[in-house]
Symmetry: C2
Subunit: 552 residues, 2 copies
């Protein structure tokens, strides 16, 4: 095979495939060059003057390395990973560091195994990370506990790529024994350290953490890069850091930045793509296309130590797109390991979905009565204030109940009957309720509304399989069932989009703060590793103080 | 140990060592920052605010990652590697990719083993590469033949770092079976492909070659980087490419460049240093000090896939210098793995020299008579034209003998009696001869002079051990014995410098083109992989045409 590759590169044999006369990204020097791209088997033989068994006219076209999403959770898109990839690969993304953190928090190892099996045979490099925080904290009650020994065993059993985002930064910094055991189980460790800086960040990094995708300011990003971290510029659906963080990037430190989506909803994925969308935005912010393309490709491979990938160069893996533009916005053809795998937005590959039935029926709760949800408002009490475009909340003091919503978090794995309650400011939902089985990271039931009757109806409608529900004035007006672990629908992507469209139309009929994306935001209001106050099944929790504001 | 490191980084424990209040290189962002550098064991805990068991005042000082010489031959300095390191480490260079190519061509595996043993215990990362070209070509007659099987075996036996410069680029491009076997024996493969470009370069790279240190123009460097090569900017004693190649470097492609010395003489090493000298020159050419420092440190570690090295950052290996300036020209202290190993230019470590006696007496020739050296000049014959500052020669046609020198290459390993002859233009040596046992890459005897009597005397003076000899008007006026394989003296560095000083004083008394460094240049006039014409033991050889201009 090297011999064959050398023979073709030297011009002694015809290539299998040649993109003739194309403009080709040189991600090493940051320029576009011109030539024929020759491919043999799964490798690029070179850019030069070549003939091929198959020739594709590249006149006026750009050949660009396929993109790499450095951190994502497939679960966020609410369809199976195989359905996700049928949308993402045709947009030119062929590498993914996927952390099955959500499903692991519901189903443990069985969930991880399902995700791995579901993508088998798909033409993409899906690097599954081992979820590091199941549960996310000792305060969470998720469906499963995976300790340091489990982490080590599961990484070895499935040959996982590394350890997923280590959100338990206090555990790292404080040298928690089980956390250190987890850190010792992998060479590649993704980080998650919002607002951690100074000596605390030094300590976190001494634990071996490689990346961070939680930066919210230029200063934070530059401190993290200065300490050797690779900073993942995240552009998700709810959390959008690109326009801020892109200002931290210059030609000199470019190599220390990557792109990721983290959490993206299916409409955004289908309509705007994932990493391609980040490239587009970066260019809109003034970055040269070739620089954005480099961040989206070579940088990620280099950061993760994957050799001979992410560039159009001799001996490199032939993962690339043929595009109508220099920022890979008009992706016409996608090649993975030298094979054409998507064309004009459509996948040319088959998927073999894994059996998800064993992961159905993941909701285990006692029957809920209205009084279980009810919660007395006391003037002067602490409430959770939410804002658009961020999952960071504020602890606020409320003098009256008007304009607030009631929110409950119902434990749904062990049928414990535990329910946490609080009031939320900023959502401004009137005349109904929304409920869901997606609630980071324990994925207990979250329900929010302005009356307990609609809230109860919404929770009951979730049933044993779970999903998303909208109730207005005593009537269920929208629903997306999420049979797989209460996180993903078992529908194909198009059916899911159609069903979600109805759900979103139902939402549209509701009266609430329309700057907010309700289900996405609600799903993060239980995540007690992101400041300032969050609600879990025990009560309102202060992340900064690491204690409950109140229980109940 | 990670626990201890985290404890210190977090500020819960005192560091072993703190450089207080220093200006610290941030090679990731390309700026200098300010703080205390904390060290625990062999690791950096972080830059911040720290206290230590030992504290060094860094006020007004710079903390800079120790440098990496990406490609060199210790043999060129003509002292043992341990003597080399006693000079180089105090100048702030603590990592070396050393290719024992010269000694392997004389002594084979025994030579490689000697080099490895000689540096044992020295505080530096000496990465020995496996010489890939012993002999350099099928036309050479060196002391040893190491084929693909030998290469594989020796790499495994000694845990060598990779395959040394693959000079046989026609063998790679042409898919020579034994060359492919060598390429298959290592992951890291250094290249050597002067003036190779286009499809031929693509083919060479498909063989898995990572680096090149033979670029002579900006265009060549940019083509090589565009194809994924790391370009080593070489600044040796004879071959000095920095001032040209530095123009190829910009902020965007900076990461694709490294520094190396390749071949450096002992005076330059002692007086100007090695990689520090390259940094100085780069800055003189207008590069910002932090960029030159980055090329000299982080870039090399990244290119070779060595993690957590080459920066002052949490968890990184504590190899750094404390300097009086921002380009590491005034190196005051050198730390290797957290230990102070040199101060104010003096090593603080002991060496345990390996036994070199078995490598003495490497010259095996029949007795030489004047007539063996004689060679008839014929008007119109092809002669070798040499120029200062390059080892590339030209094939020229000479109409008369005046002003030319006679040069002979005498096979010295197998006592074969083979002697090649030619005339050399440009050296302009009068009234004497110089001879040596250093002659790349077979290290046969090279002798050059204007009369066969002085030439014979010079050859005889070399004796069984070899060395460098200067003869003037029938008298030996200078000599440096090179007992170890005829390549290195067994004297300490200072004695070698003193002896070489006398030798160079003797040279000074000779009449020749003083723009030339005679011994260095002469040693390259037998290297038939560098254009255009060279002399080996069989005759004058055209590198471009890959055939003899004439035998004899």
């Amino acid at each position: 095979m090297p011999k064959n590759l050398i023979d073709v590169a030297a011009g002694r044999k015809k290539a299998d495939l040649v993109i003739k006369n194309a403009t080709v990204a040189d991600v090493f020097n940051g320029v576009y060059m011109h030539g024929d791209v020759a491919v043999v088997g799964d490798r690029i033989a070179g850019v030069g003057k070549y003939d091929g068994e198959t020739e594709v006219d590249g006149t006026g076209k750009y050949v660009i390395p396929a993109f790499y999403d450095a951190h994502l959770h497939f679960e966020s898109v609410m369809v199976r990973p195989s359905e996700y990839l049928k949308l993402a690969v045709p947009r030119g993304v062929t590498a993914f560091n996927a952390d099955p953190h959500e499903i692991a928090n519901v189903c443990g190892e069985a969930g991880i195994e399902f995700m791995i099996n579901d993508v088998a045979g798909i033409p993409a490099d899906v690097h599954f990370m081992m979820p590091s925080c199941v549960p996310a904290t000792g305060e969470d009650m998720s469906g499963c506990v995976l300790d340091g020994d489990d982490v080590k065993r599961i990484i070895a059993k499935y040959g996982l790529f590394g350890l997923g985002e280590m959100m338990n930064y206090p555990g790292v910094i404080g040298c928690d024994d089980d956390v250190l055991k987890k850190l010792g189980a992998a060479e590649i460790i993704d980080g998650h350290a919002p607002n951690v800086g100074g000596n605390a960040l030094n300590a976190y990094l001494c634990g071996g953490i490689l990346t961070d995708h939680e930066c919210e300011s230029v200063e934070e990003a530059l401190e993290k890069t200065s300490k050797g971290m690779f900073v993942l510029i995240r552009e998700g659906s709810q959390t959008r850091n690109l326009k801020t963080l892109i200002k931290a990037v210059n030609k000199r430190n470019l190599r220390r930045f990557l792109f990721c989506t983290d959490d993206r909803n299916i409409e955004d994925l289908k309509n705007m793509g994932s990493i391609g969308n980040a490239v587009r935005l970066a260019v809109e912010c003034g970055m040269e296309p070739i620089d954005a393309v480099t961040i989206a490709s070579l940088n990620a491979y280099e950061a993760y130590g994957i050799k001979k990938c992410g560039a159009i160069a001799p001996g490199y893996t032939a993962n690339f797109t043929v595009c109508g533009d220099d920022a890979a916005q008009k992706v016409e053809k996608v090649y993975y390991r030298g094979k054409l795998v998507a064309e004009n937005g459509a996948p040319l590959f088959d998927v073999k979905p894994a059996d998800a039935k064993p992961l159905y029926g993941s909701v285990h709760i006692k029957k809920i009565a209205e009084r279980d949800l009810d919660f007395e408002f006391k003037p002067g009490m602490t409430v959770m204030r939410v804002s658009p475009d961020t999952v960071v909340t504020e602890a606020a003091t409320a003098t009256k109940k008007d304009g607030l919503n009631l929110m409950c978090c119902i434990e749904r794995h062990k049928k414990s009957g535990a329910i946490g309650h609080c009031y939320v400011d900023g959502f401004r939902l009137k005349g109904g309720a929304i409920a869901q089985t997606v609630g980071h990271d324990a994925h207990n039931i979250t329900v929010l509304g302005d009356n307990t009757r609609d809230m109860m109806l919404a929770v009951n409608e979730l049933g044993a399989d779970g999903g998303l529900v909208v109730v207005k004035d005593g009537e269920v007006i929208g629903k997306l069932p999420l049979e797989i672990a209460g996180l993903m629908t078992d529908m194909p992507a198009d059916a899911a989009i159609a069903t979600r469209k109805k759900l979103l139309a139902a939402l549209e009929r509701m009266d609430y703060n329309k700057q907010i994306e309700p289900f996405m935001l609600l799903s993060f209001l239980t995540l007690i590793v992101i400041p300032d106050v969050k609600l879990n099944h025990k009560g309102l929790f202060s992340v900064d103080k690491w204690k409950y504001v109140y229980n109940g």
